[in-house]
């Protein structure tokens, strides 16, 4: 007879499929951070003077700041001098055909072919390995429509004016401790610009991979949707299994001008650590979008299954009149994973609307916290927000926590908040079994039912991936009919 206890045990034995390392020859900086390291990164990347100055200023901010401690997570001290801040493959070549065959093999194994002909139609990929982008597909096709999609480093070289104009526009250098660190040492990431009136014909995606040991990954993504344009963007992330914790501190900035729509989806599957909580990625990420234009729309969808620690609040500043913001999230904490995640919706423009749907799943000893802020500024007449925060518990050693903050300075605003906590119980499993369904399939069904509203919001190809990933994270693999 299978009980929740046994399903739980199975979950504890989860395996991380992406835990292998690749034998790629790397240039790795010695550990530690100081001004010279910041200069060395900039030099290695052959950056213009203004960007070096920007980095050094960020470093100065960071040095004066303290690591934030308000989140509902516990972890040992991070030794910022024990991390290497830059790692790049020695021979990345200039395209998939010339690159180190080990790199190509690595991405093949991850299921991300970098040769365009082999690629899923309709998805352009930028592949970032440790600190640098190793390949970007479909660049030429997109360029013919005026769409810029490239690695961040390349954008700095080829479109310096655009980068200079928008870098830090959404997340200022001194926004927070981790954003300041990122601004000082950011390595690579993706850059996308969609010109006015253009509807991007394919999903843009970045695949982030940490490979080297003892290195941090500090990527930076900047996406600008110009007037009347549309783009849907997806990021995926994995890392090898290592006993030490590794730091990942990214910054993502989104900008939507008048009538533009920008959709950003994340499937985050960094190595979560083993079942005893050893190893795993510390994921401290600042993601924010500014819907500056009227009638603009920003939409965040995230499926967070990896990382030992997740600290992440993809947010929307709704500045233009009638601007819309959305946040759809599924966060899974199994074994000893901890997540403190949520969103901020700041209503500034008139008739701005926001929707928050957060689904937290806790299993094993996992601790899942939703932290969200809805703020309506004076003058944001007719602003509306709907928030829904649901938690699902599997077993009795995990936890779910909800911290909604609401601040309304505008009497015409309408806010709704719904929250629930439920538990996969022996009774539910037995009920399903009594109808002929195995406990593993039943758990899968219950979890997917719980996440449905978020998955519906993902691009189709990735909704299926996300479902599979949840099954793997909760170790229900091999049971899906």
């Amino acid at each position: 007879m299978v009980t929740v206890e046994q399903v739980k045990e199975q979950m504890a034995k989860q395996e991380y499929k992406f835990g292998f390392t690749a034998d790629v020859e790397m240039d790795v900086f010695p550990t530690g951070i100081n001004e010279d390291v910041v200069r060395a990164i900039s030099r290695w990347k052959e950056e213009p003077e203004w960007l070096l100055e920007w980095r050094l200023k960020s470093y100065a901010y960071w040095k004066a700041m303290k690591e934030p401690k308000w989140a509902n997570i516990t972890y040992g001290p991070i030794d910022y001098q024990a991390i290497s801040y830059f790692a790049a493959p020695k021979n990345k070549g200039t395209g998939p055909t010339e690159m180190d065959p080990e790199i190509k093999k690595l991405y093949d194994r991850l299921g991300i072919p970098l040769v365009e002909q082999e690629r899923l139609a309709g998805v352009a990929v930028d592949a970032v390995l440790d600190s640098v982008s190793v390949a970007t597909t479909f660049k030429d096709k997109l360029a013919s429509m005026g769409i810029i999609f490239s690695s961040f480093s390349e954008a700095v070289k080829e479109h310096p004016d655009l980068v200079r104009k928008w870098l830090g526009f959404v997340v200022p250098q001194n926004d927070n401790f981790f954003a300041a660190l990122n601004s000082a040492v950011f390595s690579d990431g993706s850059f996308a610009y969609i010109p006015p009136g253009v509807r991007c014909p394919m999903e843009l995606s970045t695949y982030f991979r940490i490979n080297a040991a003892n290195t941090g990954q500090f990527e930076r993504t900047l996406i600008i949707a110009d007037k009347g344009s549309y783009v849907s963007y997806l990021e995926g992330c994995t890392a090898p299994m290592r006993d030490e914790h590794q730091l990942h501190a990214a910054v993502v900035e989104l900008i939507a001008l008048d009538d533009a729509e920008l959709k950003y989806s994340t499937i985050q599957n960094w190595y979560p650590g083993d079942k005893n909580g050893k190893g795993g990625i510390y994921n401290f990420v600042t993601k924010r979008g500014r819907a500056v234009g009227k009638n603009s729309k920003l939409s965040w969808t995230q499926v967070e299954t990896g990382s030992a620690i997740t600290w992440k609040y993809p947010s929307c500043w709704l500045e233009g009149d009638n601007a819309q913001g959305e946040f759809y999230s599924v966060a899974v904490c199994n074994n000893h994973q901890q997540a403190d995640t949520g969103t901020k919706m700041i209503h500034i423009g008139k008739n701005t609307r926001s929707t928050i749907v957060s689904k937290g799943i806790s299993a094993g000893f996992g601790q899942n916290t939703y932290r969200g802020q809805v703020k309506v500024m004076r003058g944001a007449t007719g602003a509306r927000n709907y928030s829904q925060c649901d938690s699902l518990l599997v077993g009795d050693k995990c936890g779910a926590h909800t911290f909604p903050y609401i601040e309304v300075n505008e009497p015409t605003a309408t806010l709704e908040h719904e929250a629930s906590t439920s538990k996969i119980g022996d009774d539910q499993l037995f009920y399903c079994q009594q109808r002929g369904i195995t406990p593993e399939d039943a758990t899968n069904m219950i979890v997917n039912g719980f996440c449905k509203k978020v998955f519906n919001n993902l691009p189709m190809e990735f909704a299926v991936e996300a479902q599979k990933l949840i099954v793997v994270s909760l170790n229900l693999e091999g049971t899906v009919g």
Partner: protein, 255 residues
């Protein structure tokens, strides 16, 4: 021919507490057995033990189903082999579509028997008249499984599943409790439509009321974990008049 269900000297505990203290019962295909008894006599325990509920521990005796040892089978295998329990308190599973759940269950059972799975259209055709028979409209299938259902709706959903799955052995655990007279009539009609020579029904109930609509072939009285009397339909009428008092164990003399 062997009996469909053969229970011999069945003992079972919940936690440390012995509840069933030696049950003997034989049910053949085509028969309807009513099991009646006062609160706490072990009726629901018997139903749950037959379905294989965790934490209901069999401490003695045997149960054979079509000649096989039922007690060693996993709950899902019992279900796939045709044992169906209509729950006294059906659970809610939010976000899992009612029709999707039932289709998954039905197809799991069909796979087990080497039958082809039904696709969405075939399934909808199959359930159409069953919904009508139970006075349910289509929107019922689109809701989350028992999510926010009233007590009566939950019971009707159990019978809807019963009619769709068409099990060989149907165990109804106090399906009548909490139903008003109209709902009771509809539910009883559903159960009656299932009667047939290949099927046995165990009707667990506290009240005689439902037996006005579903005529049992046999009535058994369960008191303190034992079947103390068996008879025909008339036994139920007698109980209605006299209650269970005469079966209660005498109060022990305290020296």
């Amino acid at each position: 021919m062997a009996a469909m269900l053969e229970i011999q000297n069945l003992h079972a505990s919940v936690g440390d507490k012995p509840i069933l203290k030696g049950i003997d019962l034989t049910a053949n295909a085509g028969e309807v057995h009513a099991i009646m008894g006062p609160n706490g006599s072990g009726k629901s325990t018997l139903a749950n033990v037959l379905a294989g509920r965790p934490n209901y521990v069999v401490t003695g005796g045997t149960v054979r189903y079509d000649g096989r040892d039922l007690l060693t089978m996993k709950p899902e295998d019992r279900a796939r082999e045709g044992v169906f329990l209509a729950f006294q308190y059906p659970v809610e599973i939010p976000g899992v579509n009612n029709a999707y759940f039932l289709k998954s269950a039905l197809n799991a059972i069909r796979r087990h028997h080497g039958e082809p799975e039904l696709d969405a259209i075939e399934f909808l055709q199959l359930i159409d008249d069953k919904l009508k028979a139970l006075g349910l409209d289509e929107s019922f299938t689109k809701r989350g499984l028992n999510e926010g259902f009233s007590g009566g709706e939950k019971k009707r959903n159990e019978i809807f599943q019963l009619l769709t799955i068409q099990p060989r052995l149907a165990i109804l655990d106090e399906t009548d409790s909490g139903l008003d007279i109209d709902a009771l009539r509809i539910v009883a009609g559903g159960v009656n439509s299932l009667r047939g020579p290949d099927r046995a029904i165990l009707l667990v109930t506290h009240y005689q009321r439902i037996l006005n609509y579903i005529k049992p072939d046999f009535v058994h009285v369960l008191v303190d974990g034992r079947l103390v009397e068996s008879g025909g339909e008339e036994l139920a009428h007698e109980l209605e008049k006299t209650g269970y008092a005469r079966f209660e164990p005498p109060v022990a003399n305290v020296p």
